[in-house]
């Protein structure tokens, strides 16, 4: 039984939860609607059909037109997961190394360089879009997987998050390791990284979610249909000549499954990691 003073809060949270989940349920409902029904506002389909899913996967023809969509949904799915995984791996690695240098090694101008590094977070992405793209052109990375992974492999935010985390690890541990003859490489891998695991997992989750959903950079970088990631590929289902909302929703439901799985599995680490990282400045 809820205490009386908690009842308003309970209803407020229920209302908030409903408001946040309504679009999700609408999406789920629309993904099971036939085309004739999809523009109608009711959420639960009157004539539910699961056909939209195999149609998006190009396993069945569109039931209305009798034509296969011809979209490479499976390939885009693979690309999205592969690219997001690559970005996560490299970003976590480079951020951890940079964070170690900014938190555990004393060197002249360290804090000033760190502030400068943090300052790059204040620059809006669109401002650096053309210079970044020009760099990719120079390196020959346009329309390649490296063009998606390498620019995202370095992150000021990730460095900041892990630095804050590493600052909370006692320096006496480094000193003890140094007395035992360990160098920075050994201390980093055998002392700091294991202790920073909650922070690393939090960064992994945040990076993966961001990279998996990334839209604009892949849109600009990619030309070949085979290389597209899911958010860009799904544009194929939306055009000014008639939107196939039910197919977009079926694709979106499939698209978000990995995100939901990751979030549910690692939710504990995500919250813990963010809380711990924010303790010491």
């Amino acid at each position: 039984m809820l205490p009386a003073r908690s009842i308003p809060r309970f209803f407020l949270l229920c209302a908030l939860g409903f408001a946040l989940s309504a679009p999700f349920f609408w999406m789920l409902g629309a993904s099971f609607k036939p085309r004739a029904e999809v523009e109608q506002a009711h959420i639960v389909p009157r004539e539910p059909t699961a056909l939209n899913y195999p149609v998006v996967l190009d396993l069945l023809p569109d039931p209305v037109t009798g034509v296969y969509l011809g979209v490479r949904f499976g390939r885009w799915y693979f690309n999205s997961i592969f690219v997001a995984m690559g970005i996560t791996l490299f970003q976590v690695l480079t951020s951890a190394m940079a964070a170690y240098a900014f938190s555990r090694i004393e060197w002249p101008g360290r804090d000033k360089v760190f502030l400068l590094y943090l300052g790059t977070m204040m620059i809006p992405g669109v401002v650096t879009m053309i210079p970044n793209f020009q760099l990719m052109v120079t390196f020959g990375f346009v329309n390649t997987y490296h063009g998606l992974i390498i620019p995202a492999a370095f992150s000021a935010f990730g460095t900041f998050l892990l630095r804050q985390f590493m600052l909370s690890i006692p320096t006496s541990l480094d000193e003890a390791a140094t007395i035992d003859g360990a160098g920075h490489w050994r201390i980093f891998w055998d002392v700091i990284v294991p202790l920073a695991r909650p922070g690393l997992i939090a960064l992994c989750i945040l990076t993966f979610l961001g990279a998996y959903q990334s839209f604009f950079w892949p849109l600009v970088m990619l030309q070949d249909d085979q290389l597209l990631t899911m958010p860009v590929g799904m544009l194929r289902l939306d055009n000014s000549y008639g939107r196939q909302t039910e197919l977009i929703m079926a694709a979106t439901v499939m698209n978000i499954i990995p995100l939901i799985v990751i979030f549910v599995m690692f939710q504990r680490f995500l919250v813990k990691g963010l809380q711990l990282g924010g303790v010491k400045g």
Partner: protein
């Protein structure tokens, strides 16, 4: 922990190998052009037609997002050929991103004289050609005969006026239907297009003859804004933003307009022939779709603006000859036939669209339906733009002004005045900042002093 990183790295390497090894290589030694265009199922058939007609050449359609185009073109890796609106062509020409086609177009038979008169000026900037249309379009009113029958309302007839339109719309909204369903009189798909056709109907223009002043505060333009407002709030034949949001499961203002009409919720829509491109997606419309020209003002003919999806060539393309070949193909009978069959607006070659029978296709075999668009393009007014202000900005500001009217933030008169002032300020600013525009402005003024605007 380092073993976890190592394992993740090995998994990544494995996926990378799978990803790269399963990429399909480009076929043979063909010259492959990249074509930035809209996501449209007809584009694949059109590219196949180009490859058939030009062995050794291919064109591959890709997403033509405007920002992507600008970023890629600015860094020299843009697509070889690209669909551009009038609005975007102008700014890209000023940035030096498009190939001047004037001479090659004459040599290869796709100069402006080869297409519809109303669109010719929109292919050029300052007298030089930069585009050739992939299709041309003028709007008409499509209506669902079943909805008219349901409410016992007579079908619209050629020569109808805006008053007739309002009367039909009111009857759809007010008379109970036999089926018991309620219907929206007009699906408002693109507010800007509806306004521009109202502007033409009232005899208004966006700009003065020399392009140095906005005419959107003229009595004709104010009347067009007022008309837009009245259709929504006085006659109630156009859904208000609130009604649109309430009716559309997608929630976006205007975004659901096409789907409302296609799914039998709206009785009419003002749109181009391209609507039938996806008619097969809407079986409920089969046998009920009809077209009539835009309503006219009393004593005036029915007319609206011409529109075109023009194809331009990237100034830094690696395949200029193939790109020119592609533009020449757009004027070919084979390409024209594919446009007719798909219903992708009207073919750019007028010989392929001489009457309704020439445009009839399996999706909509009724020649009378297509004749409406032949007549509409014949009487359409050329697009109206100014060299001194970016047309895409004007379009955006006009949309914002319409939004303020729709939300009753300002009166139509105020919106017209504010919009014209905003455009005039931008023109003055551009002329002040850009010496080449200053010289053109002086030349235009001098010319008008010799030949005053009527």
């Amino acid at each position: 922990m380092k073993y976890i990183f190592l394992a993740a790295f090995l998994v990544f390497l494995g996926l990378f190998a799978i990803a790269t090894l399963t990429l399909k290589p480009q076929d043979g030694d063909d010259v492959v052009l990249r074509w930035a265009t809209d996501p449209n199922p007809a584009r694949d058939r059109q590219s196949a037609g180009f490859a058939r007609a030009n062995p050794g050449f291919q064109v591959v359609p890709e997403t033509g997002d405007p920002t992507k185009l600008l970023v890629q073109c600015a860094t020299g890796v843009g697509p070889d050929v690209m669909d551009l609106s009038e609005a975007m062509m102008q700014s890209m020409v000023q940035a030096g991103l498009l190939m001047d086609l004037t001479e090659v177009a004459k040599q290869h038979g796709f100069d402006p004289s080869k297409t519809f008169p109303a669109i010719r000026d929109a292919l050029t900037v300052d007298g030089r050609q930069y585009r050739f249309p992939a299709n041309v379009n003028a709007q008409a009113v499509l209506y669902n005969k079943a909805i008219f029958d349901d409410h016992g309302v007579p079908y619209p007839r050629e020569g109808w006026t805006w008053d007739d339109f309002v009367a039909a719309g009111r009857a759809i909204a007010e008379r109970p239907s036999k089926s018991g369903r309620e219907h929206i009189p007009l699906a408002n798909s693109y507010p800007n297009d509806l306004f521009s056709d109202l502007l033409v109907a009232h005899g208004g223009r966006y700009f003065s003859e020399d392009g140095l002043t906005s005419r959107l505060d003229s009595p004709e333009a104010v009347a067009a804004f007022q008309h837009y407002h009245d259709l929504m709030f006085k006659h109630r034949v156009l859904p208000t933003p609130e009604q649109s949001v309430a009716m559309s499961s997608q929630g976006g203002w205007g975004s659901g307009g096409i789907n409302w009409f296609a799914s039998g919720d709206a009785a009419m829509i003002m749109i181009g022939r391209w609507f039938i491109l996806q008619a097969e997606n809407f079986p409920g419309l089969r046998g009920h779709l009809a077209a009539v020209r835009l309503p006219r003002m009393p004593g005036q003919p029915s007319r609206g603006f011409t529109r075109a999806r023009g194809v331009a060539v990237n100034a830094r393309t690696r395949h200029p000859e193939a790109a020119v070949k592609f533009l020449a193909h757009l004027n070919s009978p084979e390409y024209g036939r594919s446009i007719v069959e798909d219903g992708d607006s009207m073919p750019p070659n007028p010989a392929m669209a001489k009457d309704g029978a020439a445009l009839a296709n399996p999706g909509v075999p009724d020649a009378a339906f297509h004749q409406v668009f032949v007549d509409a393009i014949r009487d359409a007014v050329p697009p109206d733009s100014s060299l001194f202000v970016d047309a895409s900005q004007v379009r955006r500001w006009t949309e914002e002004a319409l939004g303020r009217i729709e939300n009753r933030v300002v009166t139509p008169g105020q919106a017209a005045k504010e919009l014209a002032s905003e455009i005039n300020r931008a023109i003055a600013r551009n002329i002040e900042r850009q010496p080449q525009l200053r010289a053109r402005a002086q030349a235009s003024k001098a010319r008008l002093q010799t030949h005053p605007e009527p």
